[in-house]
């Protein structure tokens, strides 16, 4: 089993009309044994910027701590929040610093940029950025997620419809993957509010 599949994970982000949604599964496993069913894979950097990390859980947590550290210093120095594109460049640089001993994570970054334009991107474990206009996926369930998102996605969805779409895509994909699942955690972010919901799916 590859080291990226040690803990199991599924993360997906989708673009809507002046909003975005980011969702993840909640399982933390050690190979085939489930250890926790409430593992936090998505974290808020600031009100309009979220990062979801799939892959090895220890690196997920450490990388998140490093990024929050860098962002807090940036906020103090520059007296402003980081733009999503800027944050993505920072994450890419931090991952590439460890080119020959990488963090075993694949980040999914989602945010609202200038004029509340949604921004999503993903990258591999050494920082190769992949921007997308519709959706990005990562984790052990990524192949199923690609299929589900491709089938269910429509451009310019409003927040409610986006929530339904991303939830259905996530739940149906993790059902095809034994290493991810045990519910879902969805954030839908509009310029004025953040809606956080826990999904109950097949608890296996």
């Amino acid at each position: 089993m590859s080291i990226f599949e040690y803990n199991g994970s599924a993360v997906v982000a989708m673009v809507g009309k002046n909003c975005f949604a980011i969702a993840s599964d909640r399982r933390l496993g050690v190979q085939l044994q489930t250890i926790a069913t409430d593992f936090q894979r998505i974290s808020k950097i600031h009100d309009h910027l979220f990062i979801g990390l799939s892959g090895l859980a220890t690196d997920v947590q450490t990388l998140y701590q490093r990024l929050v550290f860098r962002h807090k210093l940036y906020q103090l120095r520059e007296e402003r929040d980081m733009k999503p594109e800027t944050f993505a460049s920072l994450v890419s640089a931090i991952l590439y610093e460890k080119r020959f001993g990488p963090y075993l994570c694949q980040p999914v970054i989602a945010g609202l940029g200038d004029d509340n334009k949604p921004f999503i991107c993903t990258m591999d474990s050494i920082g190769a950025k992949e921007l997308a206009k519709d959706f990005v996926v990562s984790g052990t369930a990524s192949e199923s997620l690609y299929g589900a998102c491709e089938a269910m996605f429509k451009p310019d969805m409003e927040a409610e419809e986006l929530f339904e779409t991303i939830s259905q895509a996530l739940l149906s994909s993790v059902d095809r993957d034994c290493l991810s699942g045990w519910g879902g955690h969805v954030y839908v972010v509009t310029p004025n509010e953040i809606k956080e919901k826990i999904l109950k799916g097949r608890m296996d």
Binding site: R77, E78, K83, E85, T86, S89, L90, A93
Partner: protein
């Protein structure tokens, strides 16, 4: 460096609480050629005297106003070689920021990092402070900005400022002439008049240098022909 006679810091406090080396550095700045900057409502202009030691010097090869980034420029009063070193370091810092964040460095951040370098040279072993004060002119998302950085590493944002030989006359002149809603072309005229105040000899496009940045966010050094046009308008 550990056993050397000069491994202690040359900037040690005097009993009166001053750092004498920094005072001397400021004196070096004060005896340098006059330079000034004015922040207009839609841009910034910086200018300096360009007195060459002899008529045999090829004046086109001397450039006192330098770019730090496409939208930030700088000029100095004091020691030219120290200025060159600072410009080199600042350019590198600006490029490192761009490489990390893929975003051009804000003017305040670049000024702060440059000032940090200058401060380090007042608290390290075996080095002396820089003998220059810088005027940094830039235009970014926060609008036009003008900063002055001193050898001590302190920096201030100015609406208009001058440095060098003629500093007190120039500042008095600027205090009288400055208005909040000045436009860039007015500011250039005012800059020329301020330089003229203390100028020894005839002012011409060959012995002054002017740099400007407008709402297009591109810093440019004016050509001698453009300076001649502005000089003619001022007459």
């Amino acid at each position: 460096m550990g056993d050397s006679q000069y491994s202690f810091s040359l900037t040690t406090f005097s009993p009166s609480g001053k750092l004498v080396q920094i005072e001397h550095a400021l004196t070096a700045v004060g005896s340098g050629q006059t330079s000034l900057g004015i922040k207009a409502s839609n841009g910034v202009v910086i200018a300096t005297e360009k007195k060459l030691p002899s008529i045999l010097v090829d004046e086109a090869s001397v450039q006192k106003i330098q770019h730090l980034t496409p939208n930030i420029g700088t000029v100095y009063s004091g020691m030219g070689p120290d200025f060159r070193v600072l410009v080199r370091k600042s350019r590198k810092q600006a490029e490192q920021y761009l490489r990390l964040y893929k975003e051009p460095i804000p003017v305040t951040q670049l000024v702060r990092e440059t000032a940090t370098v200058m401060q380090e040279f007042t608290q390290s072993g075996g080095v002396r402070p820089f003998g220059v004060s810088l005027l940094v002119a830039g235009y970014d998302d926060k609008g036009p900005q003008l900063y002055q950085v001193d050898p001590s590493g302190s920096y201030f944002s100015w609406k208009a400022s001058a440095m060098g030989k003629n500093v007190s006359n120039a500042k008095t002149f600027l205090e009288k002439r400055y208005t909040e809603d000045m436009e860039l072309d007015d500011a250039i005229h005012t800059a020329i008049l301020t330089l003229k105040e203390g100028f020894e000899g005839e002012i011409s496009s060959k012995n002054i240098e002017i740099g400007k940045i407008g709402a297009d966010k591109i810093f440019r050094v004016l050509t001698p022909a453009e300076i001649d046009d502005y000089l003619a308008e001022v007459e």
